[in-house]
């Protein structure tokens, strides 16, 4: 008996049904990809298998592992199983490790809890570190001394310490750069094949699944709507939801190039350095060049993409462009006017920004009306302020009556629309979109991209579109800048860069990006 199966799993929290008749079959040495948007119940499925559900949950159905039903075990017996037979990797490697324990101790802990000695634990930890490709990292390092990708490797080592039969990975690469993501996915695939464990891989990203999983299950509102072997599923796509998800993932908003030859934003030799702490009391403080000698031009009506991995300096550059932080060298001009932290309000009013996090970008204590009116601080309140707010809401597809609600009354996608409305309110020339669609579900993301393309066409806006997501950048930009370690390494027309990347870093980025299979008929 080597069956690993989830059978007719039903879950309700309080009165709300979360999962309905979820049945999944996993094979040893294979990966089952579970795909769905936020709220589809994919993470809850994982937690139900681990029996780590929030209080007030009622589960029915069976989780069979080698002929034994996990849902029937007592908590004490289940504790014995967790880590040994079923184990899990989480999304956020930054918070999944204890910051005050060395990585070696954390890996060894799993072994010790399940009856191993400390020495065995340490020895096993050393093996595992080598297994996940971290042989060069000593066991006495603390999590903060490792990069995000290295931390996720440690989490994987932790999870496979006792050769579990079932490994659950809940969005394990979502928080990582594309290049790191590709490496982690390779590692997972290799471990699953070699150790003969079954893996449940949970993600929102169809492209990741298509390249990784042997089987795919698509989940919508607590129901598995379609499942089957990966190639077959993508070839047929029988359920309309699967097709919708697929279409949304590769959505290209209809747009044409509206760029005019006049430059709007010119960045010349921009350099931004941070002071580092002194290494000892009398040493001169070091400096970190986050952005070094960056130059580019953004034309009127153009949509310019800025791509790069985390820590490449794109956020720092954004803050300098928005005039929030001073430059240490070079200059940034908007229509020949110099951008500095002390620039005039009228100049500042010509630039607005949309941030990534639809939950963090509003003061939770203000109503939408007050949130939208905030940029009027720059221009003074116009007499027709109420109709301006109503117009802004209408133009992003919301209702003028929404102005009296609080932000928490809206979904993530709606909040991002509010953020766009706030950016539009002063009728700016340039909107900086800082990872503006990265936190959204694919279907919502497609709608927001459509909205952005439509607004650009109607209002003649210029966009500076900052993202790590190459698919999105490809869909919405005319030209792309590729940034690595504070420098622009490649610049060119979007189509051209994607078709024929010249620089090694761009090539690596594109090669690492997960790709969707070609659309089936």
């Amino acid at each position: 008996m080597t069956g690993r199966e989830i059978r007719d799993l039903n879950l309700a929290i309080g009165d709300a049904p979360i999962l309905r008749d979820v049945s999944l079959r996993l094979e040893a040495g294979q990966i089952l990809g579970l795909v769905g948007e936020s709220g589809s119940g994919k993470s809850m499925t994982a937690l139900a298998v681990m029996r780590l559900l929030p209080a007030g949950s009622a589960v029915q159905g069976a989780v069979m592992l080698d002929g034994e039903d996990l849902t029937g075990l007592t908590e004490a017996r289940m504790c014995d199983r967790r880590g040994r037979d079923v184990s899990m990797i989480f999304q956020e490697p930054m918070t999944a490790l204890n910051p005050v324990q060395t990585v070696g101790d954390q890996i060894a802990e799993t072994v010790v809890i399940h009856g191993g000695s400390r020495a065995e634990g340490q020895a096993r930890a050393a093996d595992l570190m080598a297994r996940v490709g971290l042989a060069q990292i000593p066991l006495d390092r603390y999590p903060h001394e490792l990069s995000g990708g290295q931390r996720q490797r440690v989490c994987i080592a932790l999870a496979i310490a006792l050769h579990p039969k079932l490994l659950i990975a809940d969005e394990p690469t979502t928080a990582l750069d594309v290049t790191t993501q590709a490496q982690i996915l390779d590692l997972l695939q290799q471990i699953v094949a070699e150790e003969g464990m079954a893996m449940l891989f949970i993600t929102h990203d169809l492209a990741v699944v298509s390249g990784l999983a042997d089987q795919v299950a698509v989940m919508k509102r607590g129901v598995v709507v379609e499942q089957g072997p990966t190639a077959q599923l993508f070839a047929r796509m029988q359920h309309p939801y699967t097709r919708a998800l697929f279409a949304a993932s590769r959505h290209q908003p209809p747009r044409q190039t509206l760029a005019k030859p006049q430059p709007l934003l010119t960045v010349r030799e921009a350099t931004r350095t941070y002071r580092l702490p002194r290494s000892h009391l009398f040493a001169a403080p070091g400096a970190l060049e986050a952005v070094s000698r960056v130059s580019f031009t953004l034309h009127k009506g153009e949509s310019l993409g800025l791509v790069g991995g985390s820590g490449c300096g794109k956020s720092t550059l954004t803050r300098a462009i928005l005039g929030l932080e001073p430059l240490q060298g070079g200059e940034i001009r908007l229509d020949d006017q110099l951008i500095t932290p002390d620039m005039s309000p009228s100049l500042r009013g010509r630039m607005q920004v949309v941030f990534q996090d639809p939950y963090g970008s509003f003061n939770p204590r203000h109503r939408v009306r007050r949130i939208l009116a905030e940029p009027f601080h720059l221009t003074g309140s116009p007499p027709d302020i109420d109709s301006r707010i109503g117009d802004a809401l209408t133009s992003v597809g919301l209702d003028p009556t929404d102005a009296d609600k609080f932000p928490h009354a809206f979904s993530g996608g709606q909040r991002q629309r509010i953020a766009i409305a706030r950016a539009l309110i002063t009728r700016p020339d340039l909107i900086v979109l800082d990872e503006a669609v990265s936190a959204l579900d694919v279907s919502v993301r497609a709608q927001v991209l459509d909205l952005l393309a439509d607004l650009q066409g109607r209002l003649g806006l210029s966009y500076l579109f900052i993202s790590h997501d190459l698919t999105v950048v490809r869909a919405i930009t005319d030209r792309v800048l590729v940034m690595e370690a504070g420098r622009i390494v490649e610049e060119g027309q979007t189509d051209q860069i994607f078709a024929q990347p010249q620089h090694g870093y761009t090539q690596a980025l594109l090669a690492a990006a997960p790709k969707l299979p070609e659309a089936a008929a």
Binding site: F355, D357, G360, S361, E374, L378
Partner: protein, 269 residues
């Protein structure tokens, strides 16, 4: 539960204090040596002290003094400490931040009650000087709470959005930061309030706070010392009142902390 018990205890003392402005069973400035140290009975509900003053009336007026001193002292702490903390957070890393916070460290470095005794000893014992002495030591407490909470808010995107809208540090602090840290300030305020009551009682006990004939809980304790073996009641009653008031405030503070904890609120994730 905690919150309601705490609020009930606190409010009953506050009510007694408020009532004392309109009515007390007896006049507390009226001495009646003949009726000294009377046991509790129908005439005097909780008996009388060594000068024949009614204990109930004394405790009621004493509550008034304690609350007034502690409230004004906390007020001083909030009015000076919170703006300093917000200012330090708005200019984080700058010289202003350093000066404000190191100044706070200096105040923190002295044992508060000892300095309060010094201040009242130099400027003369009085309720006003007690208020000032206790108030000064509340400033760094609020400054630190405000700065710490504000610092984490300053990294949030809605603050960045406000900066893009051209708002300056002062305006952002008032419009965006302050409303989001009121929870913390209310909770801290309750705790400082109870510490203020204790401090006032302590100062009055050593004779440096409220001066006779104005009754105060600490003063009552000091007066009762001589008679403690014969009639423990005269010391136990004010002592118990102080304990209940401080307990009530602490329970209320804890309860408020749980009820207002931003981590439990979805809207402020």
């Amino acid at each position: 539960m905690q919150l309601w018990l705490g609020a009930a205890l606190t409010l009953s003392v506050v009510f007694a204090a408020a009532l004392s402005f309109l009515w007390t069973p007896y006049d507390v400035t009226q001495l009646a040596i003949a009726a000294k140290l009377q046991p509790p009975g129908p005439d005097y509900l909780l008996g009388t002290d060594h000068l024949g003053r009614d204990m109930v009336s004394m405790l009621m007026v004493g509550a008034r003094t304690s609350i007034a001193v502690a409230l004004v002292a906390v007020g001083i702490g909030i009015l000076l400490g919170v703006p300093l903390g917000l200012w330090a957070a708005a200019t984080r890393g700058s010289l202003v931040d350093e000066i404000v916070m190191r100044g706070n460290d200096v105040i923190y470095a002295f044992p508060s009650l000892v300095i309060a005794i010094l201040i009242t000893a130099v400027f003369g014992p009085s309720a006003v000087n007690a208020i000032i002495a206790i108030g000064i030591f509340n400033i760094p407490v609020f400054a630190r709470v405000a700065r710490g909470a504000a610092l984490s808010l300053w990294t949030r995107e809605f603050i960045l959005a406000a900066r893009v809208a051209g708002k300056r540090g002062a305006r952002i602090s008032v419009e965006h930061i302050l409303p989001n840290i009121t929870n913390l300030l209310i909770v801290q305020g309750t705790i400082q309030f109870s510490l203020g009551i204790l401090a006032e009682a302590g100062l009055s006990y050593v004779g440096l706070g409220t001066q006779p004939p104005t009754p105060s809980w600490g003063r009552m304790l000091a007066d009762a010392q001589t008679f403690f073996y014969g009639t423990p009641r005269v010391a136990v009653l004010p002592g118990l009142t102080i304990v209940l008031m401080v307990l009530g405030l602490n329970l209320m503070g804890d309860g408020l902390r749980d009820a207002l904890d931003p981590r439990l609120r979805r809207s402020v994730q």
